[in-house]
């Protein structure tokens, strides 16, 4: 069952909407009764203040980028026209900068009939989309429902049946600043308690929430009691998260140190909100990583009088730019410090390089430097440093400018550069200095960077005090985040497993020890169905015929489709849990197929849908929440915060699946019935374990309960949420994502494994974009769940949701075998998707499985990553198997004798012979 990515995927189709020209918003305006001047004055009061120096950069560079390059050229022509320029090249520079802006929310009266109007806007560039829904008055929960048709602005798209996505339109503030906003007319008659929303930047795929939760604008007071603004104001306010008041407090503490512990929600409101009598206006700071394109141009000419080389460096980078430079005498590109004289503002940097501050141009849109280089030197090496400790390099290496006039160098200066990149890849040869800088710039461990940027922000500004406050705020937010993380972990009494120590003794014992979380450790799973398998009506029988084949391929476990009677043919909308006649076959066929698999030595996993259950009957309100069949429940078995099903149970302990009543697992009778059901399935059908559907929907502690009762030999949960993306690129560090999965496993007390969604996501990026370096985390371990808790990670590259005919998140086409080469050689428990087994990949998959089995790779095997570079990833697993994926070259080395065991397009696997 798949939920979260549905939300995300469906937004993709909206992209064309975002290209609507500005005119579109004019057409849109009449509906919102044209912009009322007062509403503009409102936003004028809150003139879009961009915090921090970084934004200044953003603006200027955006505006000046093009201009700069033209002036650059003319400048150069002026300076160099009469001379003998033998080298000139412009290098693109890419840098990411955090741009800060705000989301603003305004509630005021519309123009004509005095209806209330909600405006949500944002002043950062991007393809902004408002993902929103409403809470109705009669529900107390915080769940989402779709607004009535007449409230939906044009261009809105319904998302399933609980939300709306509306693109923000570009407009200009009265100040002339670009902003994006959307206006929603509120219908007075509809009993809407609140509008909930999150903002999404389509460009980057990022979601902006309010302190980790939905934004929520309570409306009931406005609509029901039009005059009661004060009450409404009170009920608005900032939704305090667990640590909500912290950052205010800290800012306040700065102002008046003595008031350290005073709580200050009020002060924030006073500070941040200027409320007219008519409504409110609220701003939330947001930050976004924006990529900037700059360039650096280097030209070299011979000075006819002195026979020296004159090297002119020019860039349109804003702010202070430092150039670290040196010269080299030969092709090894070893940095040396040239003899004096050096340009002004040059200092020696650790006796290995010179650091020169580039001179600002008179027009203020960039800077330059002129270097005089002695004869007889081979090249000029440099890197650029911005004042935030950002190092800019040429494709990861030092810039290299050839100084000799030799025609070969001149002709292929470009190739020379990429060659130098190749050469310098050999880190031993690279200068220690350069290495250090590289690792420094790569070192993204929040702390230092934060402090550094704080510092440079502060030092580079005259108005130091104000600056430091801004910067401090961001640090405080970071602290707050870290504290919340620490708190949540400490609070759960179970110690977390950062890295599972791989103990030799455990390895030896592993085969004997079977636990539900890990099985024997040597499992290889086969997902025994796809999204279409129900169609034949006799899937069990078809599967039965393949049992011995699957066994001979080396599989040890098969995941069977959900067996219960279901509203949807695929089985994920179960109704009567004890009725095991499904579209896959009847209960006898199910027993038969399980028996057959057992005969060939394959264990069977039942797909248990515990999160939700479809009802048999309606209640007195006509809502489907009364269950019949063998387990007769009423609405007490349904969670209370699902607005569609009027449950009388407790609030959900997890996310809600909106299409069916979510079961309230906190009820003892529910748990008792589910325990019995699972035990019955074990005994009656002979299932050996479980694949647990949509476990995000309820607390992992309940899973522990079920697993302890049903004692499966293996259990794996589907805990699926989206990875983190910044600026459309998946973040290298997905620790947050895998930590959520680990947290769930922890909540089950390690009784269940979980699908390693993180690994799949990272493989997507690595393979699709040829960024194989992503396959090593900062600690040199696999970046997915498998890197942290391999024995509980069930790796996969595709399943019935992501692939098959649904294709919610399909693995990069044609690269599936690289994915399998990865998961079938790595620790964790690999899963192979049915569609892939019975495809042209079959023999390759079979070869990989046999390598795995032959070399006794198990879920806790060690991985030593030997290469993680742009175009190749290589690792040695358990000392007996080496593998590489990616187009780049790799051959295993070392004392062992490696022989090729399997290979295919862009992958190779070796074993020791």
């Amino acid at each position: 069952m798949f939920f979260s990515s549905v939300r995300i995927m469906s937004t993709v189709s909206m992209e064309p909407l975002l290209h609507h020209p500005v005119r579109e918003s004019v057409r849109y305006a009449p509906k919102s009764r044209t912009f009322k001047p007062s509403s503009w004055s409102c936003s004028t009061n809150h003139k879009l203040v961009f915090h921090g120096r970084s934004f200044c950069n953003f603006r200027s560079s955006n505006v000046h980028a093009l201009r700069a390059s033209t002036t650059t050229d003319t400048d150069l022509v002026e300076t160099l026209e009469s001379t003998d320029v033998f080298f000139k090249e412009t290098f693109p520079l890419k840098r990411m900068e955090t741009v800060e802006g705000k989301i603003f929310i305004r509630l005021d009266h519309g123009q004509n009939n005095g209806n209330w109007q909600l405006t949500v806007g944002c002043n950062l560039p991007g393809k902004w989309i408002l993902h929103w829904g409403i809470s109705r008055v009669k529900y107390v929960g915080s769940e989402w429902d779709q607004p009535p048709e007449e409230m939906r602005p044009r261009g809105s798209i319904p998302i399933k049946d609980y939300a709306i996505e509306t693109p923000l339109k570009k407009s200009l503030s009265s100040e002339g600043d670009a902003l994006h906003e959307v206006k929603i007319d509120l219908i007075p008659t509809s009993a809407i308690a609140a509008i909930n929303f999150v903002l999404k930047d389509e460009e980057t795929g990022s979601w902006y929430q309010h302190r980790g939760r939905d934004f929520k604008v309570p409306l009931a007071d406005y609509l029901l009691d039009d005059g009661n603004v004060v009450a409404a104001k009170r009920s608005f306010g900032v939704w305090p998260g667990a640590l909500g008041p912290l950052s205010n407090l800290l800012i306040k503490a700065e102002v008046s140190p003595a008031n350290g512990s005073e709580s200050s929600n009020e002060s924030r409101e006073a500070k941040k909100k200027s409320r007219s009598l008519e409504g409110f206006y609220e701003e939330q700071p947001i930050a976004k990583q924006v990529a900037f394109d700059n360039s650096v141009t280097v030209s070299v000419r011979k000075c006819p009088e002195t026979a020296k080389n004159l090297l002119y460096v020019e860039t349109d980078l804003p702010g202070d730019v430092f150039i670290h430079w040196g010269v080299c005498r030969d092709d090894t590109k070893t940095w040396e410090i040239p003899d004096a004289p050096h340009p002004p503002e040059t200092v020696s940097f650790r006796d290995k390089a010179l650091q020169t501050r580039l001179q600002p141009k008179e027009r203020g849109d960039g800077c330059w430097g002129l270097f005089t280089i002695e004869e007889g030197l081979q090249g000029f090496l440099f890197v650029l440093k911005l004042n935030k400790g950002t190092w800019l390099k040429c494709m990861g290496n030092d810039f290299y400018i050839p100084l000799s006039r030799s025609s070969s160098l001149l002709a292929k200066s470009r190739q020379g550069l990429s060659e130098s990149a190749q050469i310098l890849e050999k880190k031993e040869e690279a200068k220690e200095e350069a290495k250090e800088e590289a690792s420094l710039s790569a070192y993204t461990n929040g702390i230092i960077n934060n402090i550094r940027s704080l510092v440079s922000d502060i030092s580079s500004e005259k108005t130091r005090k104000n600056k430091s406050k801004e910067a401090q705020e961001s640090i405080l937010q970071e602290i707050e985040k870290l504290a919340a993380e620490a708190y949540s972990i400490f609070r759960s009494s179970i110690p977390t497993f950062l890295e599972e120590p791989v103990v030799d003794t455990e390895e030896l014992k592993a085969p004997a020890k079977i636990s539900s979380g890990t099985g024997t450790g040597f499992e290889i799973l086969c997902q025994g169905f796809n999204w279409e398998s129900h169609k034949s009506g006799r899937w069990y029988m078809e599967l039965k015929e393949r049992a011995s084949e699957l066994s001979s391929l080396g599989f040890t476990v098969i995941w069977l489709p959900p067996p219960t009677e279901s509203i949807s043919p695929e089985g994920y909308m179960p109704r009567d849990l004890y009725n095991l006649n499904s579209r896959y076959g009847n209960v006898d066929q199910l027993k038969e197929v399980v028996k057959t698999f057992h005969e060939v030595g394959i264990k069977t996993l039942g797909d248990a849908v515990l999160n939700h259950r479809c009802a048999h009957h309606q209640n007195q309100n006509g809502v489907w929440n009364i269950f019949g069949g063998h387990i007769k429940w009423d609405d007490r078995a349904v969670v209370a915060d699902d607005p569609h099903f009027q449950g009388r149970g407790n609030k959900s302990s997890g996310d809600n699946f909106h299409a069916a009543p979510n079961i309230d697992h906190s009820q003892d009778f529910v748990r008792k019935d589910l325990r019995e059901w699972l035990c019955w399935l074990r005994k009656e059908i002979g299932y050996d374990g479980w694949r647990l559907d949509f476990v995000r929907g309820f607390w992992g502690g309940y899973v522990k309960d079920y697993l302890e009762a049903s004692a499966p030999l293996f259990a794996v949960g589907e805990y699926w949420d989206s990875l983190s993306y910044t600026y459309g690129e998946m973040d290298h560090n997905q620790d947050g994502h895998r930590q959520r999965i680990i947290d769930w496993i922890n909540a089950t007390n390690g009784t269940a494994a979980a699908f390693d969604v993180t690994t799949k996501g990272i493989l997507h990026s690595a393979l699709e974009r040829c960024e194989y370096w992503r396959l090593s985390d900062q600690k040199g371990k696999p970046p997915g769940v498998v890197g942290w808790w391999p024995s509980r990670a069930v790796t996969f590259i595709e399943n019935h949701d992501t692939g098959s005919t649904q294709g919610h998140w399909r693995f990069p086409g044609g690269k599936e075998m690289q994915g399998y080469a990865y998961i079938l050689t790595h620790p964790g428990t690999p899963t192979v998707f049915f569609d892939h087994i019975f495809s042209h990949y079959r023999s390759e998959i079979a070869a990989l499985i046999s390598v795995r089995n032959r070399n006794e790779i198990h879920c806790r095997s060690t991985v030593q990553i030997t290469k993680a570079e742009r175009d190749v990833y290589a690792a040695i697993v358990g000392e007996k198997v080496a593998m590489k994926i990616g187009p780049g070259h790799y051959e295993p080395s070392g004392p062992q004798r490696w022989s090729l065991a399997a290979e295919g397009k862009d992958y190779k696997v070796w074993e020791t012979s």
């Binding site: 430092f322 503002e345 440093k385 929040g446 440079s456 110690p495």
Partner: protein
């Protein structure tokens, strides 16, 4: 303490100022003091750079910086300018008994948060019962080393507390082999009048007796310290800046006189003397015979109340005419407290000599037995081993002992204020603290403050601030302790406010010397970071 000086460019500026200051207020004592506190320079600038290369550059500059620092230190005796280095205790069970790091992710996040807050370092309890768990001289440091590495990576300092005691909550026992010995010979433990053994640490009477498989506890402690020193040598002096020696129950130099009271809302009683194990009684007997009062050496005082009773429920502690004020009382109490001080001296001199060449400061902790302070006899202090009454200063000799060993004194209870004590307990943490600090000042003993480890009392932060800012004797504060409560929304915001208010600068940031243009970029960055983490 002054900051903003670790930077070559500034050092140049300071040189001119320096001359001026030398003229103005040169104070040899201040200079030496500032020297001894050289690590106070700022919030650990050098550790921000983990790359050895860069650090070496920093060092090159540092010599100069320190010079200017010492002068500024002496020139500004204004107490509030003295930054207090703040440490935060790591969870007691940060390393599990199978030597893995507990809550590693939480601690990692916590360390980052602390670093960002500008906290100087963390305090790490290192348990005898974990390191030397299985057999004598079989040390397992891996968990602690891993944690030290985490601390180092986070750019924080480390202060290690060597714990030769056991903990009840969380349960951290003494080493298994010690407990086994204790089972056959319970006389290695402190014993009260009723014959009950306190099994959380060894009795001070066995310090020099070969009770541990032929070795004396002092020898065992010594070997433990040596092993610690060699295992932690990579951290010594750089990351590891302080070592506190466990001196008794809960690491404190005292008798376990109050271990019976557990009910929180109860007024603490006077406690009981713990001199009834075979060896203590033996020493007492000898002592009594040597002083010609052999009858006094047969046991402890007969007219004392029990653990949770008030002073007046029996005769010994009565304000007027209590036996404490008699020659017998003086005989017993002097002996009882001298035993404790000699014990403390044995351990601290052991630690001081073991760690003399390492750059880490050695500390010992004493308790703050503040209940019944307002009576004449101070019964709680007496039973804990501090012969401090209205008529006798019992801390002078303790401070002198610390000074003799050049050890720093850890003083808990800095968060306690008189007004929040229950009236009936006649308690006065503030006065007692003042007494102890006075003794320390007199003997030049530096004090490291701690809060009492319970959850923060009302007004606790204000009290701590008062204690820290009011006295220049306290230059380091070790806040107890990281855990769920520490990071909880109820607590963490006020802690953050506390940290920031501690580091509030006197100077407006505009008044700080103008930064020269970035000369050696990264260097400047680090120094400025230190400025702002402290001075903003």
């Amino acid at each position: 303490m002054e900051v903003s000086v670790i930077c070559s460019s500034q050092a140049k500026i300071r040189k001119t100022e320096l001359a001026y200051r030398e003229l103005g207020c040169f104070d040899p004592k201040g200079v030496s003091k500032a020297f001894s506190a050289k690590s106070r320079v700022c919030f650990s600038p050098s550790t921000m750079w983990r790359k050895a290369g860069i650090r070496s550059t920093l060092k090159a500059v540092q010599s100069e910086a320190v010079r200017s620092e010492k002068v500024s230190g002496s020139s500004r005796m204004s107490k509030s300018r003295d930054g207090v280095r703040l440490f935060v205790g790591l969870p007691l069970d940060a390393v599990s008994d199978c030597n893995t790091v507990n809550h590693a992710r939480a601690i990692a996040a916590g360390l980052k948060a602390l670093k960002l807050l500008g906290v100087e370092g963390v305090e790490l309890p290192v348990w005898w019962g974990i390191v030397e768990k299985e057999a004598m001289r079989k040390y397992e440091w891996s968990g602690y080393l891993a944690l030290a590495k985490m601390v180092q990576d986070a750019g924080l300092k480390l202060h290690v507390s060597l714990c030769f005691h056991a903990s009840k909550q969380p349960k951290i026992p003494l080493p298994e082999w010690v407990s086994r010995i204790g089972e056959s010979d319970p006389n290695i433990f402190f014993t009260d009048r009723a014959g009950q053994h306190y099994k959380e640490c060894l009795s001070l009477a066995v310090d020099d007796l070969p009770v541990l498989d032929g070795r004396t506890p002092i020898q065992v402690y010594h070997e433990f310290c040596e092993s610690f020193k060699s295992s932690f040598s990579p951290f010594m002096g750089s990351t590891l800046t302080g070592i506190s020696m466990g001196l008794g129950p809960d690491g404190e130099l005292r008798y376990p006189s109050h271990h019976k009271l557990t009910k929180s809302n109860q007024i603490p009683g006077v406690g009981e003397f713990q001199c009834y194990d075979k060896n203590m009684l033996g020493i007492l007997k000898q002592h009594a015979e040597a002083t010609g009062n052999s009858l006094w050496g047969l046991g402890g005082p007969h007219d004392v109340p029990t653990y949770d009773q008030s002073p007046n429920s029996n005769n010994f502690f009565r304000d007027n005419g209590g036996s404490w004020d008699s020659p017998y009382g003086d005989f017993f109490l002097s002996w009882y407290s001298n035993q404790l001080i000699s014990h403390g001296n044995r351990l601290l001199s052991l630690a001081a000599s073991t760690f003399s060449e390492s750059a880490a400061t050695v500390c010992g902790k004493i308790p703050l037995m503040h209940s019944w302070y307002k009576t004449r006899s101070h019964p709680s202090e007496l039973t804990a081993g501090y012969y401090n009454t209205t008529t006798r200063d019992g801390y002078e000799v303790v401070a002198e002992m610390f000074a003799r060993n050049s050890c720093k004194m850890i003083l808990p209870g800095m968060d306690l204020s008189d007004e929040h004590q229950s009236h009936e307990s006649l308690s006065s943490p503030e006065f007692l603290l003042a007494d102890i600090k006075k003794a320390c000042r007199k003997h030049g003993v530096e004090v490291c403050g701690q809060n009492s480890s319970a959850s923060m009392a009302p007004g606790g932060f204000e009290q701590i601030k008062k204690n820290l800012l009011g006295e220049n004797i306290v230059d380091l504060f070790s806040y107890q302790r990281m855990g769920a409560y520490f990071f909880s929304p109820e607590h963490f915001p006020s802690f953050t406010g506390f940290v920031r208010s501690l580091n509030q600068p006197e100077l407006h940031s505009d008044d700080l010397p103008e930064q020269e243009e970035e000369a050696a970029g990264s260097l400047n960055v680090s120094s400025e970071a230190s400025v702002h983490m402290q001075a903003v």
